[in-house]
Structures are given as structure tokens and as C-alpha cells.
């Protein structure tokens, strides 16, 4: 490298003031932490909402002091369903793994000083923040939050106040929030893609990128292609609601004895547009988790990832197929048997790359020197949940089976395990793994393990029984099951799941305590506490403003060189030149 290489490679000088350093920061690391904290606030809120739902299902007539009237109405229950889903899917599962950890670690892992467009990055975060403010505002507007679910199907979502208390202002705020979120996600996706394509360090070929970067890369491409479609749908829905157009709202709609003045819009059109976004969105939530799980399994098995290329290609395959299967969310909406068949076969085809990933994860573990650290436990939990939740997807991919199960708790169990809890486990694994690099201190290992076992057992206790009551016919989205005999028989199971949910939610307090306590009092972390190979561990802890202290690293090898024969250490960092690798004689 020439002498130039030692001038600061960062496009922006290091900020000095509090505002420019921590609020309107251009540093991808600070923006990553901002996203993470936003998602942390959102997940706490989302969990509280779910606990309220579980409570109401078991004690529907209980007196709740914080609700006007004391008792929760069915509409209020549906509002909880809507807000829980929206907050969790958008502001947690999309925000933390991609925008949070991706922002912080993607540039460092590929050896860049920052994202390609730091200002756009900042704009993207603050737009997400505004979107979050808008969705929170939906709680407080007249009528309260919307009741149409996170999928906002019209006509319910398209007609305004007449269809329910939250369908006036609340639904409008929901659309505004989601539209802002789409804009922010598009900006983020653009930034991620440009960064990966153009700012990789010398020697960092695509096939030398850590699988985490592959996860973020494919996710960014999915986000780029999917969020614009949701934005377009949102604009049309907003016009249906406020300008009297009839894109989605059908003709002769009578609500509470009032004939509404809409012409022959197509509610199915919304479903197509929504799920064209919605299914890739599922992979937007899970692909970064797959990357993290692969990364952690290799690091803590002290073995190279089994089938690196297959893993990278499988992610691309999952992303590609993810755009062709949206119709499997609409089997019960009615469609030609031929399209149903096509969607069904394509959906099952996703089982192929998914199975490749799963077997490669197991192959990575095979004969490894496994270290059961907290991040590793969560990575193992990820694999377990992904298998458990993924297998039920094969059943739901059959239109005939789906017709029976779609409106039941079986689907709730399926998607919570495979994209909800599994993705959350990816986030937890990433947090325990990268916390030392981000904050310079270790999190408590005993507390981390306790947190893992409570969450892991709790997740299965909450969601496994839902499969069985779903098959038995327990319909989802109902606010009260006590009045109908064949539904009331499931109440003991509901009670079990609710108690499990209480315990699991309480278990998350251990995580919060561990996180915030360790920020101040955790053991000091070295630069590479896990003996890992990728570039973020080659720099100081926490990394300097330009990530590598005034120079670009060069990369000499792939990301998972563990237990290489003839080398003294059991890992070879990516940035070590061949002559620098310590060898045993």
C-alpha cells in the first residue's frame, strides 16, 4: 500500500459534538446501534401486546384497570393482534437483523470504512424512526389502533370508520407508517447492495465474504424488489380510503345498513400485491438469521462451514423462489386449481435449498470441537426452530390441507416458529456474539445460558400445542373461545400456552438485565474474544471511527479457516498474509 493508504479512508471526518456523534450520526456503527435500540424498544412493546392477548384468551372477562370500561372488547383484541404483528414483523424482524447488525457489521466484515452512502443511511434510520412514531401514534388517535391485522385486507381496511373503531384514523396511521417504512427500507437496501458491490477490501471476493454478508446481500435485494410493491399498494389503499377511488373496495358494500359509494374494486388485487411483498418479507426476516447461524456454528464448532458455496447459492435460491410463491397465502381466497398447483409445487421447491442449509449446518457440527457458548446455543436453537417451523410449511403448501388449516392456530404455530422465534434467536445469537465488539465488554455467560434455556423451552411450550389445537379446529383471531363448546374444550391448552408465554416473557428480563448491566460492568473484552476469523475481529474493540484505524485491510482467504492442519492456532484470520500465519514445525 502506498503512503496514501494511511490517510483516513473515511469519507466523513469523525464527529465531535453529541448530536452529530450520537443523534444525527453518519457512522454506520452508531446507526446500527440506533436501529438495534429501536428494535429493542419495539420488541418489548410487541411482547407486552402478545402477553395481553394470551391473558385475554384465557381470562376473557377479567377486569383490566388500564382499559376504558374495564373489559377488553373483541375489537380491542383485534387491535392487539394487528399492532403485535405489525410491530414485530416490520420494526423488529426487519429492523434488528438487517438494519441493526447489518449496518454495524457489513462494512467492517468486507473491510470498508463505512456504507457507500452515509447520509442516505442516516436518512433511512430517521425515516424508520418516523414510521415507528406513526405506528405508535395509532394507539392514541381517535378510535385507537386498526383491527385489520398486519395484512390489512380490504374491504375492512379500505372503508374507514364505519367498519370498526380503529379503521378510521388508526388505519390511516398504519398506512402512513408502513409507507414511510417502505421508503426507509428501499434506501437501506440500495445502500447495502452498493456497499457490497463496490466497497469490498482488496482480496475480499464475493466467495470470501462471511455468510452473514451473503445473508444481508440477498435480503437487501429482496427488500429492494419487495418494498416498492407494498408502497404502491399502500398508496392505492390510501386513495380508496380518502379519495373515494375503487381499486380494492368492491361495489355495493353495505356496512351497518349503509350502502357505500364504491365501484367494483378487487380485494384479491390487494392480496396479490401485499403477498408479493409479504412472502419475500418472510425471508427478509429469516435470511440474516441464516447467515448469523452459519457464522456462529462454524466459529463455535471450530470447523469451516460445511459447503460454503452451497450455503451462499442456497440463500440466493431461497431468495429467488421466495418471489414466486406468494399465492400460497391465498389458497383460501379462491384461485384456479392450476395456479394453486404451481404455487404449491414452487413452495415445496423451497424445501430443497432449505434442506441444503439444514444438512450443511448439521455437517458443520459433525465432529466439531463444539463450544456451548451463549451465541452458539442460540444458533443451535435457530436450527432447531427452523426445522420445526419449516416442516409444517410443507403441509401448508398443499392447497387441500391449507384449506382446512389456514384459518386455524396451525398457521400461527408455523410462522411464529419459522420466521418469528427462529429470527429472534438469530438476533439473540448475534447480540451475544457481537456485544463485545460493539461495546467493549462481555455479556454474562451464565445469564445468557439461563436466558437461552427459558426462551428455547418457552417457545416450544407456547407454539407446539398450537399445531394440535389447530388440527383439531381451533380458529385463529377469535377474541373469546369460551362461549362455543367445541372451541371451549381447548381452554386448558390455551391456559398452558398462556402461562408458558408469561414465563418466557419474564425470561426476557434476564436478557435486558444482562445487556444493560454488561454495558457498564461486564468483563473487559479483548479484540478477538471468540478467536474468530473475520475482519471485525482484526480491528480494535470497539472499532475506531473509520473501522480499521487509517488503513484498508487486505484479505487473503475465506472466512471460515478453522482447525487448519499445520497451523499453531485453531483459526486463521482473513487478513493475515500467508507469511504471517503462525505454523507449527
Amino acid at each position: 500500500m502506498s503512503s496514501h493508504a494511511h490517510s483516513a479512508p473515511h469519507a466523513m471526518p469523525a464527529p465531535t459534538g453529541f448530536i452529530s456523534k450520537w443523534v444525527f450520526s453518519l457512522d454506520h456503527k452508531v446507526i446500527g446501534i440506533q436501529y438495534f435500540l429501536l428494535a429493542l424498544a419495539a420488541v418489548c412493546l410487541g411482547i407486552v401486546l402478545s402477553v395481553l392477548m394470551r391473558f385475554h384468551l384465557v381470562w376473557p372477562s377479567a377486569h383490566l384497570p388500564f382499559i376504558t370500561g374495564g373489559q377488553m372488547t373483541p375489537e380491542q383484541y383485534l387491535a392487539l393482534v394487528t399492532m403485535h404483528g405489525t410491530i414485530m414483523v416490520f420494526f423488529v424482524l426487519t429492523t434488528a437483523p438487517q438494519s441493526g447488525f447489518g449496518n454495524y457489521f457489513l462494512p467492517i466484515q468486507i473491510g470498508a470504512a463505512d456504507m457507500a452512502f452515509p447520509r442516505l443511511n442516516m436518512l433511512s434510520f430517521w425515516t424508520t424512526f418516523l414510521a415507528f412514531v406513526a405506528i405508535i401514534a395509532a394507539f392514541f388517535v381517535p378510535g385507537g389502533s386498526p383491527i385489520s391485522g398486519w395484512t390489512a385486507y380490504p374491504p375492512l381496511s379500505g372503508l374507514g370508520q364505519v367498519t370498526g373503531p380503529g379503521e378510521g384514523w388508526g388505519q390511516t396511521m398504519w398506512i402512513v407508517s408502513i409507507a414511510l417504512f417502505c421508503g426507509a427500507s428501499l434506501m437501506g437496501a440500495l445502500n447495502f447492495i452498493a456497499t457490497i458491490i463496490d466497497l469490498r477490501a482488496p482480496g475480499m471476493t464475493l466467495m470470501r465474504m462471511p455468510l452473514t454478508c451473503w445473508g444481508w446481500f440477498v435480503t437487501a435485494i429482496l427488500g429492494l424488489l419487495a418494498f416498492g410493491v407494498l408502497l404502491a399498494a399502500g398508496v392505492l389503499l390510501l386513495l380508496d380510503r380518502s379519495a373515494g377511488t375503487s381499486f380494492f373496495v368492491p361495489a355495493s358494500e353495505v356496512v351497518t345498513d349503509t350502502l357505500l359509494n364504491h365501484k367494483g374494486g378487487s380485494p384479491i388485487l390487494w392480496q396479490h400485491l401485499f403477498w408479493f411483498f409479504g412472502h419475500p418479507e418472510v425471508y427478509i426476516a429469516i435470511l440474516p438469521g441464516m447467515g448469523v447461524a452459519s457464522h456462529l456454528l462454524s466459529t463455535f464448532s471450530r470447523k469451516p462451514i460445511y459447503g460454503y458455496r452451497a450455503m451462499a447459492y442456497a440463500m440466493c435460491g431461497i431468495g429467488f423462489l421466495g418471489f414466486m410463491v406468494w399465492g400460497h397465502h391465498m389458497f383460501i381466497s379462491g384461485m384456479s386449481p392450476y395456479s394453486g398447483f404451481a404455487f404449491s409445487v414452487l413452495t415445496m421447491a423451497i424445501g430443497v435449498p432449505s434442506a441444503i442449509k439444514t444438512f450443511n449446518w448439521l455437517g458443520t457440527l459433525w465432529n466439531g470441537k463444539i463450544q456451548f457458548t451463549s451465541p452458539m446455543l442460540f444458533a443451535l436453537g435457530f436450527v432447531s426452530l427452523f426445522i420445526s417451523g419449516g416442516l409444517s410449511g410443507l403441509f401448508l403448501a398443499q392447497p387441500a390441507v391449507d384449506n382446512r388449516l389456514h384459518a386455524t392456530y396451525y398457521v400461527v404455530a408455523h410462522f411464529h416458529l419459522v420466521m418469528g422465534v427462529a429470527a429472534i434467536f438469530g438476533i439473540f445469537g448475534a447480540t451475544y456474539f457481537w456485544f463485545p465488539k460493539m461495546f467493549g465488554r462481555m455479556m454474562s455467560e451464565p445469564l445468557g445460558k439461563l436466558h437461552f434455556w427459558i426462551t428455547f423451552a418457552g417457545a416450544y411450550c407456547i407454539f407446539m400445542p398450537m399445531h394440535f389445537i389447530g388440527i383439531a379446529g381451533a380458529i385463529r383471531r377469535y377474541a373469546d373461545y369460551t362461549g362455543v363448546q367445541y372451541l371451549a374444550q381447548f381452554q386448558p391448552v390455551h391456559k398452558f400456552m398462556t402461562i408458558a408465554a408469561f414465563i418466557t416473557a419474564a425470561g426476557q428480563l434476564i436478557f435486558l438485565w444482562n445487556f444493560f448491566w454488561s454495558l457498564k460492568h461486564g468483563a473487559k473484552a479483548s479484540d478477538n474474544p471468540w478467536h474468530a476469523t473475520t475482519l471485525e475481529w482484526s480491528t480494535a474493540t470497539p472499532p475506531p471511527h473509520d473501522n480499521f484505524g487509517g488503513h484498508y485491510p487486505s484479505v487473503y482467504r475465506g472466512p471460515y479457516e478453522f482447525s487448519v492442519p499445520g497451523v499453531t492456532e485453531d483459526y486463521v484470520p482473513q487478513h493475515l498474509a500467508p507469511q504471517e500465519v503462525p505454523r507449527s514445525k
Binding site: P9, A11, A194, G228, I268, H272, L273, P304
Partner: protein
């Protein structure tokens, strides 16, 4: 257990990114010097990232419009209430103006590549003016429809007409902002070569997109 030997994979690949140490052509700029931004901002990697970024952004924008177009096709076939919209004649003029603006923009870029900054600036201004003219023409089309009693909610066909023209018009408005920003280039982060080529990409794309939408609204009505 077979594990890849470190010796198999130690070849270093030639630095792809020029970086500060790599070969870099001096950027062109208005009034000499061009980009004098923070160190590193003028690296070819970063300049190339702007082109990549624009390519990617156009992909996202294309998906947004294709969602609207597919909604148009589905909605047209779905109901019995579709009444074909006869588009105002001025749209033909507007379309011609926008197509011409693409040619003037190409001409401007050609002058730039020949280091003729005066010719570059001249045709750049002409393009910007044509862009404004296009927007004014679109507004006139809206007024004509309004005068004929065709509003946003009159019929799904008119709804789509207003949505398409508004969404495209907003993108053209953004493009005009970008054209003006390049015209008054102060040369900070992006070199003029990069910014003018990135804006040209965007403008040509918006031109092609409009031609497609116009054909859809006329032939596919």
C-alpha cells in the same frame, strides 16, 4: 476429517477497488479541480458506488411502477365498471418533449466527454427546460380532464391515469432537482463525471418509463 489446507487458498486477488492506492483518473469538474471533498470520497470505488446505487435505485423504482401496472391490468379485467379513458391530446406533445429531452441530454454528455464544458452546460440547460415544459404539459392535461369532468374517483381508469401521471411526475420533479443540482455543481462528494452520468441514467429511465406508461394508457386502455 478433511479440512481445506490453508495453502490451497492463499493467493491474494489483485485489489479490485482502486482505493486511495489504486489507479485513479483525475476527475473532471466545473471550474477546475472538481471534487475536493473529504479524503476518500474521490476514490474510484466510491464514485462507482454512485453508479451502482443509481442502477439499484432504478430497479426499486421499476418494481414500484410495475406493481401499479399489474394492478392496472388486473383491475381492468376484474370489474364491469371500467370505462376506457381517452387521454388528452396534449400528452402526445408532452411525450415528444420528453423524448427530445433525452436526445439533448445525450448531446450534453457527448460534449462533456469531449471536455467541451460550455456545450455540456448549454445542452444540460436545454434538457432541464424541456423537463419543466413536460411537467407543465402534464398539469395542462390534468386541467383539461378536470374541465371535462373526469376526476380521480370518476372511474378506475381515470384513477389509474392520475396515479400514473402523479407518480411519474413526482419522479420527474426529483429528476429536475437533480439536473439543477448538477448544473450548479459545487463539486463536493461526487465528481461531475459521476453526477452527470448518474443523473443522465435516471432521466433516460424516466423517459423510457413514461413512453411505456403512455403506450399502456393509450393502447392498453
Amino acid at each position: 476429517m478433511p479440512i481445506a489446507s490453508v495453502n490451497d487458498v492463499v493467493e491474494i486477488i489483485e485489489p479490485k477497488r482502486g482505493g486511495p492506492s489504486g489507479p485513479s483518473k483525475p476527475p473532471r469538474g466545473f471550474g477546475g479541480g472538481g471534487n475536493g471533498g473529504g479524503s476518500g470520497s474521490d476514490s474510484p470505488g466510491r464514485q462507482r458506488a454512485y453508479v451502482t446505487g443509481m442502477t439499484v435505485a432504478l430497479g426499486g423504482i421499476l418494481m414500484f411502477f410495475m406493481a401499479l401496472v399489474s394492478a392496472y391490468i388486473v383491475r381492468k379485467g376484474a370489474g364491469t365498471d371500467w370505462r376506457a379513458l381517452i387521454v388528452p391530446r396534449i400528452l402526445w406533445v408532452n411525450t415528444a418533449i420528453l423524448i427530445i429531452s433525452s436526445f439533448t441530454l445525450s448531446r450534453s454528455r457527448r460534449h462533456f466527454l469531449r471536455d467541451d464544458l460550455q456545450g455540456f452546460r448549454h445542452w444540460w440547460y436545454v434538457t432541464t427546460a424541456l423537463g419543466f415544459l413536460f411537467l407543465v404539459g402534464q398539469l395542462i392535461a390534468w386541467r383539461q380532464l378536470n374541465a371535462a369532468g373526469v376526476y380521480l374517483a370518476s372511474n378506475p381508469s381515470s384513477s389509474f391515469f392520475y396515479v400514473f401521471t402523479a407518480a411519474h411526475g413526482l419522479h420527474i420533479l426529483g429528476g429536475l432537482g437533480a439536473l439543477l443540482a448538477v448544473a450548479f455543481h459545487k463539486g463536493r462528494r461526487m465528481s461531475l463525471a459521476t453526477s452527470s452520468s448518474v443523473v443522465a441514467m435516471y432521466w433516460h429511465f424516466m423517459d423510457g418509463l413514461w413512453v411505456f406508461l403512455f403506450l399502456l394508457l393509450t393502447l392498453g386502455r
